[in-house]
């Protein structure tokens, strides 16, 4: 939103430095994003055409000799309609910066002819829309500044970040902004009240408002008008806000909107069939708006209608058919307050945001604003468009809003702010903001401050006007109580640190999946929560597994690295019983190591992680994969159990999945439910005594069927050897049809025997080892 300083100066009689004001406003009211100087630059001067000829190399261009002072004639190439000798035109001399078209004029050659400046059209000077011809000036002397000749003063415009003041509809006009600026400068703004509408006996204007709830106020009056162009000062005001001048009637409604914050609309009274009805649209009803676009309405959209059809979309834009034109003789001038969220929703649904809709979409506009805006517009129409009121004023205002009071405890305010602001200063601040402050604690709130309803709202007014930067900083004082440790987060840290130590890098991927990847991975689509309003197909489903997105990361990185490990500890989401949303933390890792045993590395990483989490190795079991899993390698993946409960999978991703996703390498993975894993974790691991007695190693090779699991053999040996087995490792697997037979494997184990109590004798070792051999042999036979 743009604020014109000239406009503010109408209401505040004080010196205002634009840059300082911008800083003050940012610190006390709302962020000023930019300070822009507008108006016609002083280096644009009046030139007189001495001669104008066609350009030798172009049909569209002309070459003119232009006199810009008694002794200076410039040659300038220009386009559009040719001007004749003796015409006076605006000349932008070389070096002029024209902000309206973002152009710096230079001396250059145009199609082989030198041009020493620019003859400007209206749009290039920012004072109109016309680009078809250069401007021919009616008044002024050669060499005079154009700004001066046209009485168009320069202005400074502040660009406001109005998204951060949704609660302040009063700041959406210059009047409200002037009040605020006056308060922070300590020079209260003076806003002259417009003359009230005459109370003559005139015919009634017929209006009905069936959509009561959506229309807190609707006022209208009919006037006779002489449509013409607006005076220069009014055009300049609108131009500085970037609003093109149309005609005096439309310009006045716009002016009053930017002045008061209340959007107005004028209908051509001879193009509508009275009475006016403010109602909800019929579904499918159509209207062509002033921007010449046909729009289809829904039954929730509020419209202004005549007897036949909608003539405006309430609070957004009027209809083309009843637009005020140069032919217009009579207008219906409307000033209304519509229910904000309704306007906002309609504006989003039909895809049309206007200066009016922005103002209505703010938090509840004060309906009493109509009593300023409507008379102000009528006053200006009388003055600038020879208007005459020809109907009684219609007013729908069923629940008039009265001012209210808020009780302010001055001591509490000081305590809440944390600064010693004396009573007198507090009173002064509130008074400058336009609040009524007596001797007591009751503060009277004017109705335009819809945001001030409780004492904390007043604390804010006091603090921000006083200045946040003036409040002395003071750290809170309290009990030195240590915070409760968050156990869940503790295990996350341990796990992340373990995996990075193991050489894996942490990645973050989106919480969303697209349908195609889910299907390529063979995951059931119906398990995924669907996003209703995703902007792109990639965000259509919530992820129910980390695997799809991590495979995407693998694909990205395999182009740059030939060996790497990644992991993510993140949330997955799915629908549980009774449509309840289940959210769980998963820990998924992926490995690429060409030429290495991926299953063993993935499992090894997981085992290391489990060790770091204090999960005893003996509590972990690995089961061969059930059939029918399409994501994992059918022969080289396992279901992991901790303390008898399934917690996830480890192994390799199915090569078919990898190829379908365009991944060249084989991928090892583990995918573990972190909620379950951390349940198995232990805070303080027990200490294992280190024996001082010598140990004895024995190797044992057993030939067994492929289907015998190593785990079963190891368990049997552990059980038979008991505490005397210090360590048990599978050190070699040998497969050779000729030597060990078809479907067989020779497994070599190294068993280390050691006692905590004494040196084991040969006989003792033999005794336990033979028990181990026997137990292992039994299992190996199947």
């Amino acid at each position: 939103m743009k604020i014109s300083l000239n406009w503010i100066r109408d209401y505040i009689k004080a010196d205002i430095d634009p840059v300082d004001l911008a800083r003050q406003m940012t610190m006390h009211i709302v962020e000023v994003e930019d300070v822009i100087t507008t108006g016609i630059p002083p280096s644009v001067v009046i030139g007189e055409i001495i001669e104008s000829k066609s350009h030798p190399n172009s049909d569209q261009l002309q070459v003119a000799q232009v006199k810009i002072s008694a002794d200076k004639i410039l040659q300038i190439v220009y386009g559009g309609v040719a001007v004749k000798a003796g015409d006076k035109v605006p000349v932008a001399t070389a070096g002029t910066c024209l902000p309206a078209v973002n152009l710096t004029v230079g001396e250059r050659s145009l199609r082989g002819v030198a041009s020493q400046g620019m003859i400007c059209a209206q749009d290039e000077l920012g004072i109109g829309k016309d680009h078809s011809r250069v401007m021919v000036l009616e008044k002024g002397e050669v060499g005079q500044r154009v700004a001066e000749a046209l009485s168009i003063p320069g202005d400074t415009v502040l660009e406001i970040e109005n998204k951060s003041i949704p609660h302040r509809p009063d700041l959406m006009g210059h009047v409200g902004m002037a009040r605020e600026i006056g308060a922070i400068m300590g020079t209260p703004a003076v806003i002259p009240a417009p003359a009230p509408l005459d109370d003559a006996k005139l015919p009634d204007l017929k209006v009905s408002v069936p959509a009561q709830d959506a229309v807190p106020r609707y006022d209208a009056v009919m006037l006779e008008v002489n449509v013409g162009s607006s005076p220069d000062w009014l055009r300049a005001r609108l131009a500085s806000l970037g609003i093109p001048a149309i005609n005096n009637v439309v310009d006045i409604t716009n002016y009053v909107m930017f002045d008061s914050g209340e959007p107005l609309h004028a209908f051509d009274a001879d193009k509508i069939k009275l009475p006016i009805t403010v109602r909800l649209a019929q579904a499918g009803e159509k209207i062509t708006t002033i921007d010449s676009k046909e729009r289809e309405l829904k039954a929730t959209h509020l419209v202004i209608a005549d007897t036949d059809r909608p003539i405006a979309i309430a609070g957004i834009m009027g209809g083309k058919a009843s637009e005020v034109t140069s032919e217009t003789k009579r207008v219906v001038l409307e000033a209304a307050v519509f229910y904000g969220p309704g306007v906002w929703k309609t504006s989003r649904e039909i895809g049309l945001t206007t200066d009016a809709s922005i103002r209505f979409s703010k938090k509840a506009l004060d309906p009493n604003i109509v009593d300023y805006a409507l008379p102000k517009a009528v006053e200006m129409l009388k003055e600038l468009a020879g208007a005459k009121i020809i109907s009684n004023r219609y007013s729908h205002y069923p629940r008039p809003v009265q001012h209210w009071t808020v009780d302010l405890d001055f001591n509490r305010a000081r305590k809440f702010i944390g600064a010693e602001i004396v009573d007198e200063e507090i009173r002064k601040i509130l008074r400058n903001l336009g609040l009524e402050v007596g001797e007591g604690s009751a503060i009277t709130i004017p109705t335009y401050r819809t945001d001030l309803t409780g004492p904390e709202d007043l604390y804010e007014e006091i603090a921000r006007t006083y200045g946040y930067d003036r409040i002395p900083k003071k750290l809170p004082v309290g009990e030195l109580r240590p915070a409760t440790e968050n156990v869940e987060l503790h295990w996350e840290r341990v796990a992340r640190e373990a995996l990075t130590t193991a050489g894996q890098s942490e990645v973050y991927t989106y919480s969303f999946n697209d349908r195609k990847t889910i299907e390529q991975l063979g995951l059931p689509l119906q398990d995924h929560l669907k996003v209703m309003n995703a902007l792109s197909p990639e965000n259509e489903y919530m992820r129910a597994s980390l695997i799809p997105n991590l495979l995407g990361v693998v694909r990205l990185n395999e182009a740059n690295f030939n060996k790497f490990g990644i992991f993510e500890l993140g949330h997955v989401y799915y629908e549980g019983e009774d449509k309840k949303t289940i959210e769980e933390r998963m820990l998924c890792g992926m490995l690429i190591m060409p030429g290495e045993d991926l299953f063993k590395h993935a499992k090894g990483d997981f085992e290391y992680l489990a060790m770091r989490l204090g999960i005893p190795r003996k509590s972990l079991k690995y089961r061969p994969l059930e059939t029918g899993n399409a994501t994992f390698h059918p022969g080289q993946a396992a279901l992991v159990e901790a303390f008898g409960e399934a917690i996830g999978y480890v192994g390799r991703i199915h090569p078919q999945v990898l190829r379908s996703l365009g991944i060249k390498n084989e991928v090892g993975f583990f995918d573990i439910n972190f909620e379950k894993l951390s349940v198995a974790a232990t805070v303080i691991k027990g200490f294992v005594h280190i024996s001082e007695y010598p140990s004895v190693a024995r190797d044992l090779t057993l030939t067994m069927d492929e289907k015998v699991s190593n785990e079963d053999v190891e368990w049997a040996m552990q059980e038979a050897g008991g505490d005397l087995i210090k360590q048990l490792d599978l050190i070699d697997i040998y497969r050779d049809v000729a030597k060990v037979g078809e479907g067989k494997k020779a497994m070599t184990y190294r068993i280390i025997y050691q006692s905590h109590a004494k040196t084991l004798t040969d006989a003792e070792v033999e005794k336990v080892h033979s028990r181990v051999i026997e137990a292992a042999g039994r299992v190996a036979k199947g």
């Binding site: 809440f416 109580r481 915070a483 989106y510 990644i566």
Partner: protein
């Protein structure tokens, strides 16, 4: 006997002197000093001598053993030093050749920064809480004083799931939950992933990270909030950072603020990141709205509090001068391995 000692001594000295390498030296050592060596054998014969002779021979024998041992040791050291004397030439390398790095992994830069932030708040007695990423409309909006028809509730800025749940738009969802289950004084931060339904480009991302924080007690003031924010900035940037609180608006705070810092990219001279204003909006904060306290069962007449929503992505981007927010979720190890 003494005579024999002298003979052993001169023979041993000569042979040690003659030994050409470590093996020869060891042979000599064993021949004279080993368990069955000449000297021990001779000394074992002392038991047949008279007491007077023993007193003369004993010390002389022991001295001879020590002398020979140190002679052998000196000779051995000489061999060792000779063995490595031209090491500098034989094993010379180019010390500017690259080292072999260990296999290392890194925590994501946002995790690293989050942990750092957590430590700062832990040291001030803040508890760390965690709440769901997909939450109900009640925790996302209703409990935070969003009016029933507030635009944020609509599905334009907010992802909506078919079952009515919402990928949270802020970590402020924690406020109600945490306050309801604790009694003041309450000091907590709640870090986590948030979502906003917008198209992505170098500056916009639909997935981002916040650390919600709040402090509720008797007499908590704006001055307390300002001091805490200053302290956190100092701890994060490890130096004094020029900053300011200016008005901002959020339904769940009153008053609300934007915390700005001097642009760390250009040092306040003006650049595209700070849009030539020299200031960068870092995170919003404010005094918790009495309706939010009330909804969470905290008496606003007795207690007040402040809250802030620290933006982790923005902070990391400022600290490391990262110019594309999408890098955080791309998983590109060329980016992640830099931290």
């Amino acid at each position: 006997m003494l005579e024999k000692l002298k003979q052993i001594e001169s023979a041993a000295r000569a042979e040690i002197e003659k030994a050409g390498d470590e093996n020869a030296l060891e042979t000599v050592r064993l021949a004279y000093l080993g368990r069955k060596g000449k000297l021990p054998l001779l000394l074992r014969g002392m038991k047949d001598l008279s007491d007077e002779e023993k007193r003369a021979v004993g010390p002389a024998g022991n001295k001879l053993r020590q002398d020979l041992e140190s002679l052998v040791a000196a000779k051995s050291r000489e061999f060792l030093s000779r063995k490595y004397q031209d090491l500098a030439r034989r094993e010379k390398i180019d010390v500017t050749e690259p080292g072999i790095p260990p296999e290392y992994g890194e925590l994501h830069i946002i995790t690293q920064t989050r942990y750092e932030i957590e430590e700062i708040f832990k040291s001030m007695g803040y508890e760390i809480t965690s709440t769901p990423e997909v939450d109900s409309e009640y925790y996302c909006f209703t409990s935070l004083n969003f009016p029933a028809d507030h635009p944020a509730r609509s599905d334009w800025d907010t992802f909506k799931l078919e079952n009515g749940m919402i990928p949270r738009v802020h970590t402020s969802t924690a406020q109600n939950r945490v306050m309801k289950t604790r009694k003041p004084p309450i000091r907590a931060i709640n870090p986590g992933r948030c979502f906003r339904n917008e198209r992505t480009d170098a500056r916009h991302e639909h997935t981002f990270y916040q650390v919600e924080g709040f402090y509720v007690d008797e007499g908590v003031s704006i001055a307390n909030l300002a001091a805490t924010m200053s302290e956190v900035l100092y701890q994060v940037f490890k130096k004094k950072i020029e900053h300011r609180l200016r008005p901002g608006y959020f339904p769940f705070v009153e008053p609300g603020f934007e915390l700005d810092i001097k642009c760390q990219i250009c040092g306040g001279k003006g650049c595209p990141v700070c849009k030539y204003t020299s200031w960068v909006e870092l995170w919003p904060c404010g005094m918790i709205h009495p309706n939010v306290l009330k909804e969470a069962g905290v008496d606003p007449e007795k207690y007040s509090g402040f809250a802030f929503g620290l933006g982790l992505d923005r902070l990391v981007m400022m600290r490391y001068k990262i110019n594309d927010i999408r890098l955080f979720h791309r998983g590109d190890l060329r980016f992640l391995k830099q931290f």
